[in-house]
């Protein structure tokens, strides 16, 4: 696993030659002759690549081919780059602060309607720890507190209990939707829990009941054999299969919790699934979740860093997630998760 810069001076294959060139530059500038791990090297290469994809607005687009700044890649890239890439990081933070909606939420992308969306949780997590951003973060958290899945309305609860019972779930247990006026789903709920867990010392009681309700919702929507998909565990009496990325993101929200059979089953399922994954997004989130739940991940990190064509990834959220996974301890700290 460990190798010196000297050993890495010989390119592994031609497809990574671009990155090797970049690496040589970074190595000369930042590491000199220090001993670094292979994943450190890959992480630095990819972080540099990620920084280069930053748009003049300070944010990142969903895809490299686009110029439409989007919040999810921006938040993930900002966390992934960290203070080491100070200029890009600060520029991204300023962008996030600038585009907050007047109601405290964040839009999915620049130019989106001002109603707000699930990325508010990601923006709050990204801004956490930045003193200048505390008022905006609090405003965002307040918006999250007021946001809830539409099934929380008494009339919809009644409908889901009487006439619409093909999806098995308890509407009393609700979390957060992707966008207002729709149901709660697993990913927005998990990120909202992470954001509310990070609420600052000046508002320690904010949202604890909503966090508990969100946790209950996640447990309610789990797949019968463990793991999560978007949020439909059983439909028409058929158990649906879990998805690795949804499972991993949900598991991050459970790290401060007492052990539950559903959580253990889900971690076990993810641990079995992760080595078989052929897509960097799912593998990256799996590494973060398994590390957060004290499972060994070094071989997965090695597998991720040797993925072919990582530098060709067009999806900036995926590239950022890969950077986060290759530096998982720092990433988990940024999400407020302690292994």
């Amino acid at each position: 696993m460990h190798s010196s810069i000297g050993a890495l001076a010989h390119p592994v294959d031609e497809s990574t030659s671009f990155l090797r060139t970049q690496f040589d530059r970074i190595a000369r500038r930042q590491y000199n002759n220090a001993i670094v791990t292979t994943s450190d090297v890959a992480a630095e290469d990819l972080r540099l690549l990620l920084a280069q994809k930053q748009l003049p607005s300070g944010g990142w687009a969903a895809l490299s081919s686009s110029s439409q700044t989007a919040l999810e890649p921006t938040a993930l890239a900002c966390i992934a780059l960290g203070p080491k890439f100070q200029s890009a990081h600060d520029h991204a933070m300023q962008f996030l602060l600038k585009i907050q909606n007047s109601n405290g939420s964040w839009p999915v992308f620049l130019g989106d309607s001002p109603e707000g969306s699930w990325v508010t949780s990601l923006a709050c997590i990204t801004l956490h720890g930045n003193i200048e951003a505390i008022p905006k973060q609090l405003k965002g958290l307040r918006w999250l507190m007021d946001s809830a899945g539409a099934e929380s309305h008494w009339l919809w609860k009644w409908k889901f209990r009487t006439t619409d019972r093909h999806v098995r779930f308890d509407p009393d247990k609700f979390g957060w939707p992707w966008i207002p006026h729709t149901n709660s789903w697993v990913v927005p709920t998990a990120f909202s829990i992470l954001a509310l867990n990070q609420r600052c010392a000046c508002a320690p009681d904010t949202g604890s009941s909503r966090v508990e309700l969100g946790i209950a919702m996640l447990l309610d929507r789990a797949c019968p054999g463990g793991g999560w998909n978007a949020g439909n565990g059983v439909v028409y009496d058929v158990a649906l299969a879990p998805h690795p990325d949804d499972t991993a993101i949900a598991l991050l929200a459970f790290t401060r919790r007492r052990r539950e059979p559903t959580i253990d089953m889900s971690v076990d399922w993810l641990e079995l699934a992760a080595p078989t994954l052929g897509a960097p997004w799912s593998l990256a989130w799996s590494i973060l979740a398994l590390a957060a739940h004290d499972r060994p991940v070094e071989f997965l990190v090695k597998s991720l860093s040797s993925f072919p064509d990582l530098e060709q990834i067009e999806d900036n959220s995926t590239l950022a997630a890969v950077c986060l996974a290759l530096d998982y301890q720092r990433a988990l700290a940024a999400f407020g998760v302690t292994a």
Partner: protein, 353 residues
């Protein structure tokens, strides 16, 4: 009997109020009628998935004399998720064959584009479903519609009440858009064919996974609004192995040995429904779309290739859609039940705002 001025005014006001309340229910909810005078459909016999599909498909496409030279073609398959051994997705061999055919017909560029509705990790679905290797080998570009650049579009019909949607640039700027559904039954919409397939263009990055806003605003209604807005120029439906029962994810594979081509999505869906042994007029979105988007009636569809024959045993559907099966005894009763459920949903929506 004499009517004084006061009574006349009151009467006129009452008629005016009544009309203003009731007219919206009777007024057309579409902005324009795009239905062609006649539509063309070809049903091709293809026993199984093999590279030989290319020649059959090319012969079928040549029947339509398509003007695709120098055009940018967007192929929109149905790629939802991956479950081993299941017929969920449009088979990659059919998409590869279509891409090859359009190249041979002189297309400037062929792009495969999809925004999976269930799985957030599009690359994982591509990799598991076999799309990744064919795209790489054939050098065809894939566009993840869940993450494409978005433009806001006013909907060209108003069944769902959504009024406008953010839609992917790749789709809205395509010269020639081909819907390539997998022929399946669907537990919420009865069937999922070329029109329901267009849910895939609604971006997950904006509306989430699954695209819940379309469900909350009515699936049948949303299908109509999306299809009125996003012009489907052609349909290539994969019915070589279709799906029956609890589709779109957990149904049972049902071999049909057919590929359906059409220059009209309504005619394509009506034909596919007939091949499934289902009555297209009873599928709410097909019936309504036949008023303004395309043709459902057999008399208005020019048929080429194989004749359309219902199978001996119609496709299995979930109990709520039993009324789609032609053998069912009381379609009116089932339809009344669906209308009642729909009205109940609308009432809840109104009162819960």
């Amino acid at each position: 009997m004499r009517i004084n001025r006061r009574e006349l005014l009151i009467g006129a006001a009452a008629v005016g109020a009544g009309a203003s309340v009731s007219l919206p229910f009777f007024a057309p909810r579409y902005h324009e009628v795009r239905r062609p005078a006649r539509s063309r459909v070809a049903v091709l016999h293809v026993e199984n998935y093999s590279p030989r599909i290319v020649e059959t498909l090319l012969a079928g496409l040549q029947l339509f004399r398509l003007h695709v030279r120098d055009k940018r073609i967007v192929l929109k398959p149905n790629l939802v998720d991956y479950i081993a051994g299941s017929a969920i997705n449009t088979d990659p061999l059919v998409v590869a064959a279509a891409a090859e055919c359009f190249r041979r017909l002189g297309a400037r560029q062929v792009i495969v584009a999809e925004g999976p509705g269930h799985q957030r990790d599009t690359q994982l679905v591509l990799w598991k479903s076999g799309y990744g290797s064919f795209l790489r080998e054939s050098g065809i570009r894939f566009m993840d519609l869940n993450r494409d650049e978005l433009i806001q579009v006013d909907l060209r019909a108003n069944y769902s009440g959504l009024k406008r949607l953010w839609l992917p640039k790749t789709v809205m700027e395509a010269d020639f858009l081909v819907s390539m559904p997998k022929v399946k039954t669907h537990h919420w919409s009865g069937v999922t064919l070329s029109m329901k397939n267009m849910f895939g263009v609604v971006p997950g990055s904006r509306y989430g996974w699954p695209k819940n806003i379309l469900h909350w605003n009515g699936i049948q209604q949303s299908i109509l609004d999306v299809c009125a807005t996003v012009p489907v120029h052609f349909v290539i439906a994969d019915a070589i192995v279709a799906m029956e029962g609890n589709g779109p994810l957990n149904g049972t594979p049902r071999p049909l040995g057919r590929i359906v081509l059409a220059d009209d999505p309504v005619a394509a869906d009506a034909t596919c429904a007939r091949l499934m042994g289902l009555e297209p007029d009873r599928v709410p979105h097909i019936r309504e779309a036949s008023k303004f988007l395309g043709n459902c009636s057999r008399e208005l569809i020019e048929q080429a290739g194989e004749t359309v024959q219902a199978p001996g045993v119609p496709f299995q559907v979930v109990p709520e859609f039993e009324f789609l099966r032609q053998l069912h005894s009381s379609p009116k009763k089932e339809l009344a039940r669906r209308v009642s459920i729909s009205m109940q949903q609308q009432a809840i929506k109104v009162f819960s705002v």
